[in-house]
């Protein structure tokens, strides 16, 4: 029997108190509408969220894990990029 798999969707949930949608997992679904429904059933059964985004996984462009050394390692010794070397005026403290 021919077996066609449904596409994979990545699921992002915003919690009740959260400002941003956080990646929480993935589901298989035939289309966007059903992807939202199954994401609701799989990932929000215990009041985890109040908003769901789904994105078909193939639309996500990911960085190449093998390129990690050139992409991320050079930031390691650039501590001056953290804004900890400036004295901030009182009014803008806790920035």
């Amino acid at each position: 029997m021919e077996r066609k798999e449904w596409p994979l969707w990545e699921v992002f949930i915003r919690s009740r108190n959260g400002l941003d949608h956080k990646h929480c997992g993935s589901v298989h679904a035939p289309d966007a509408r059903l992807a939202l429904q199954v994401a609701r059933d799989v990932y929000t059964r215990r009041q985890e969220g109040v908003s769901i985004w789904v994105v078909e996984a193939r639309h996500i462009v990911a960085s190449d894990p093998d390129a990690k050394p050139e992409l991320f390692d050079p930031a390691e010794d650039k501590i001056y990029r953290h804004p900890t070397f400036y004295r901030l005026p009182e009014e803008v403290d806790h920035m």
């Binding site: 449904w6 298989h28 679904a29 509408r33 059903l34 429904q37 199954v38 059933d41 799989v42 059964r45």
Partner: protein
């Protein structure tokens, strides 16, 4: 609040529908075609069993004979159950399961909308909570009906066969009963015969979109809500009630 026998019968019918269909849906747990649907069906089974618990507890309290939700669910025999025959029919396949869920949850939506204004305040509160659940169920099942009906030749054939099989059992939903007349007169809830028009208005457009042919009404009638059930309910109860019957009062 003291309850008339008709009021109690009406509550039992509501509770038994939810209990028996919830038990049927729970049979899919671990067996659904995909993990995502497995969870969805189990969620809906739990929604229905939650409704049943509230309704049967309420009925037991109004009855005043010391029967709680467990006594009503596990210690009544077949002919005392007041659920629609539609709810007790076997699942058979995914198509029949979602077509039944669609037909029944569309009915529940129409019913809960009316019961939210019930003169029985506890019932009105249960209706308010259950309406949200039923609206999700009808959306979930309706989406599947469209996908199966308007899908492959195989899925269309199965969805049409499911609809042809189940449709005659929907006549029972709207059959007049003496209890309905009394309950409607007391403003506790609508006579179910009043719900056929809103139900059809919700159901038929989806079936059309699903390219499914709506069967004609026939003379066939089922009588589950009058306590005359199909041969399937006894088997369902045998499994559901086994533990309480074998080990009376068992708790964990």
């Amino acid at each position: 609040m003291t309850a008339t026998p008709e009021h109690l019968e009406y509550l039992l019918r509501l509770g038994d529908n939810a209990l028996i269909l919830g038990q049927r849906l729970s049979e899919w747990c671990g067996h659904a075609p995909v993990l995502e649907e497995d969870l969805a069906l189990a969620n809906m089974a739990l929604d229905l069993i939650g409704q049943a618990r509230l309704l049967l507890s309420h009925a037991g309290r109004l009855e005043g004979r010391g029967r709680d939700e467990d006594a009503l669910a596990f210690l009544r025999t077949e002919q005392h159950f007041r659920n629609l025959t539609l709810c007790e029919l076997p699942n058979v396949d995914f198509a029949r399961t979602v077509v039944r869920n669609f037909l029944f949850s569309a009915f529940q939506v129409a019913l809960w909308e009316r019961l939210a204004a019930s003169a029985d305040p506890e019932l009105a509160a249960i209706a308010g909570k259950s309406l949200k659940e039923a609206r999700y169920h009808v959306r979930h099942a309706g989406d599947w009906v469209i996908r199966l009906g308007d899908g492959s030749a195989e899925s269309h054939a199965r969805a049409q066969a499911a609809l042809d099989y189940l449709w005659p059992y929907t006549a029972e939903l709207f059959a007049a009963t003496p209890a309905d007349a009394a309950v409607a007169a007391a403003a506790i809830g609508p006579a179910w015969s009043e719900l056929e028009a809103p139900w059809a208005a919700a159901v038929v457009p989806v079936l059309n979109e699903a390219t499914l042919a709506v069967p004609a009404r026939t003379a066939f009638r089922s009588y589950g809500k009058f306590g005359r059930h199909s041969e399937h309910l006894g088997h369902l109860l045998g499994e559901m009630q086994y533990l309480q019957r074998t080990y009376p009062g068992a708790r964990w």
